[in-house]
């Protein structure tokens, strides 16, 4: 039993169980849609969590990469032709490239310069998406062609529930693999003591850059999934508020916790839906919940709760 609990992929087990069992409790297609959104934003939050929880850096414009992925599947097939699948990959590569170019000079420096640079990039992209009406449709957004795989058109929320869950699980698998690998250990070490990591021969700047590029690719794929699920996207996807929401998901769920990313995303996707009955007070209650969570569950929901559950071997 203990060996299963200690296995690096153990955290995936409850998620797989939930993915399989959950549809049995869904009374309508709307629930599939919300659950799909949880997995999609969980994937984006997971990428950001690698950056925040392991490299100790913050991106305040991470939604820009959601935007790159989203608009890649919206504009690409319409203008250049080909399957949206190709543009999911193209968007991820483009996001990774942008992250690499922006991060390379910045991540050599100590401190939170990355936060400022990503903030600037996020605002810039949102403005461009709003104003390049010919290409992006401007503030009204743009429609996204339906994905056709093997002659089947994927349009129902249930289809996207399974696809989003699969992508989240794949992302989580890669993240868990990474954590328990030479590269991952070096990353976790950097977060605790940069100077010690350097003295041991870890190329700190290169490792931070790597994880920033990965986190951008995660967000981009999530953005593509969001666009394909919705069938329509607006610049809101890449906006500043989205970026903050992603950061909140990571902090709320738990920095450095793979499952925490999903829990944080679930909170911030589901809570506004359930609080909608409060009308004008929705945001007030949402803010209050976030504040209380941070006061009483400072390490984040999952790390705090798992401390009560896990029995450490003496």
């Amino acid at each position: 039993m203990r060996t299963i609990l200690a296995h690096r992929l153990f955290p995936l087990l409850p998620v797989v169980a939930i993915v399989i069992v959950l549809p049995a409790c869904f009374p309508s297609a709307y629930y599939y849609r919300v659950a799909a959104l949880v997995f999609i934003f969980g994937l984006a939050a997971l990428g950001l969590n690698l950056l925040m929880g392991f490299a100790g850096q913050v991106s305040l414009g991470h939604a820009a990469f959601l935007g790159v992925g989203g608009y890649a599947v919206a504009i690409g097939p319409a203008r250049l032709g080909g399957s949206p699948c190709v543009y999911v990959i193209a968007g991820a590569l483009l996001s990774g490239l942008i992250a690499w170019v922006a991060g390379r000079p910045i991540l050599r420096l100590k401190g939170h310069y990355l936060a400022v640079v990503t903030l600037g990039f996020g605002l810039l992209l949102a403005i461009a998406l709003n104003n390049e009406t010919g290409l992006t449709g401007g503030p009204d957004g743009i429609s996204v062609p339906r994905l056709v795989v093997l002659g089947l058109t994927l349009r129902t929320a249930a289809d996207w529930y399974w696809i989003s869950a699969a992508f989240f699980l794949l992302g989580a698998l890669v993240a868990l693999n990474l954590i328990d690998s030479p590269t991952g250990r070096a990353l976790r070490a950097i977060h605790d003591s940069e100077v010690a990591a350097r003295v041991l021969g870890v190329d700190v700047a290169a490792k931070k850059l790597l994880v920033f590029v990965m986190s951008a690719a995660y967000a981009s794929v999530a953005g593509s999934l969001f666009a394909l699920l919705n069938g329509h996207i607006t610049p809101d996807l890449a906006g500043f508020l989205r970026s903050i929401e992603l950061v909140a998901m990571v902090v709320l769920g738990g920095m450095g916790s793979v499952i925490g990313s999903l829990v944080g995303a679930a909170f911030l996707v589901i809570l506004p839906q359930t609080l909608a009955v409060l009308h004008d007070y929705e945001h007030m209650v949402l803010g209050l919940v976030l504040m209380l969570a941070m006061i009483f569950l400072r390490a984040g929901i999952v790390p705090t709760l798992s401390r009560f559950v896990t029995v450490r071997p003496a």
Partner: protein, 262 residues
């Protein structure tokens, strides 16, 4: 053979001359200690040798190669490792994982293998684990391997840092006050560990305030005071040097000084 050669190192912080033309040679396979009152510049010297600071003047040569101003990660690849006076452990990692990071410069698994846990990664993990357990065993901490570093007491953490530095397989190991805060028994164990390192051909550069430890294990001792070299020699030579005695007992070597007091 000379492994480390420090030539005329100088550095100032604002108006304070932290090091002023300090020079010494460390022979391969020896234990070389640097002592001096607080503020003498010992840790600054360590920070320059390990690449954390760049000196304003002077050179550092490692195995005949000029390594002045190189980054710590590059020096690690040249076989230099160190510990820190005010512990720099990876608190969220276990003791074993801390030491495994020490082995990082020998890891060869590649990013792709790491992301998908291909055999190259699992094999590397196994080898790293073995090397880390060896290093832990060497400082007598193998039993605490799975404990999170944050849960271990201070004296143990001091030794854990040595194990982590050893896992890099260094030629030159810089120990910054390894006995600070240790009791007599721990300090005795430390003596055995450091002697063992020298026996295995690892050159040890030691900064330490525990004089009994320093006198017993050092092949040579270099004395610093206010950034300058005060004396250098064997334990016996240094112990009987009037300038050293003066610096340590607070008495004044120059008669002028006594006049000023009266």
């Amino acid at each position: 053979m000379t492994l480390l050669c420090v030539v005329d190192l100088s550095i100032s912080f604002g108006g304070v001359r932290a090091l002023d033309r300090v020079s010494f040679d460390v022979a391969s396979g020896t234990v070389f200690s640097i002592i001096g009152p607080n503020g003498a510049g010992k840790t600054t010297l360590f920070n320059i040798i390990s690449g954390l600071y760049a000196p304003q003047a002077g050179h550092v040569r490692l195995a005949g190669e000029d390594v002045t101003g190189r980054y710590p990660e590059e020096l690690a690849r040249c076989g230099l490792s160190r510990t820190f006076q005010n512990l720099q452990l990876f608190r969220r990692l276990t003791a074993l994982e801390n030491v495994m990071v020490g082995h990082h410069r020998h890891e060869r698994s590649g990013l792709f293998a790491d992301l998908f846990h291909l055999p190259a990664c699992t094999h590397q993990n196994k080898r790293t684990r073995g090397a880390a357990l060896d290093a832990l065993d060497r400082v007598g901490l193998a039993a605490l391997a799975e404990r999170p570093a944050a849960s271990l007491p201070y004296g143990v953490l001091k030794r854990l840092e040595i194990a982590r530095a050893l896992a890099t397989r260094p030629n030159l190991l810089l120990l910054d006050e390894p006995a600070a805060g240790c009791n007599a028994a721990e300090s005795g164990e430390l003596k055995g560990i450091i002697r063992g390192l020298a026996r295995d051909g690892i050159t040890v550069l030691l900064v330490e305030h525990d004089m009994r430890l320093v006198m017993e294990i050092s092949d040579r001792i270099h004395v610093l005071a206010e950034g300058r070299t005060l004396a250098e020699g064997t334990a016996a030579e240094v112990r009987n040097n009037p300038a050293v005695i003066a610096a340590y007992l607070g008495a004044c070597a120059e008669p002028k000084c006594t006049d000023a007091v009266h």
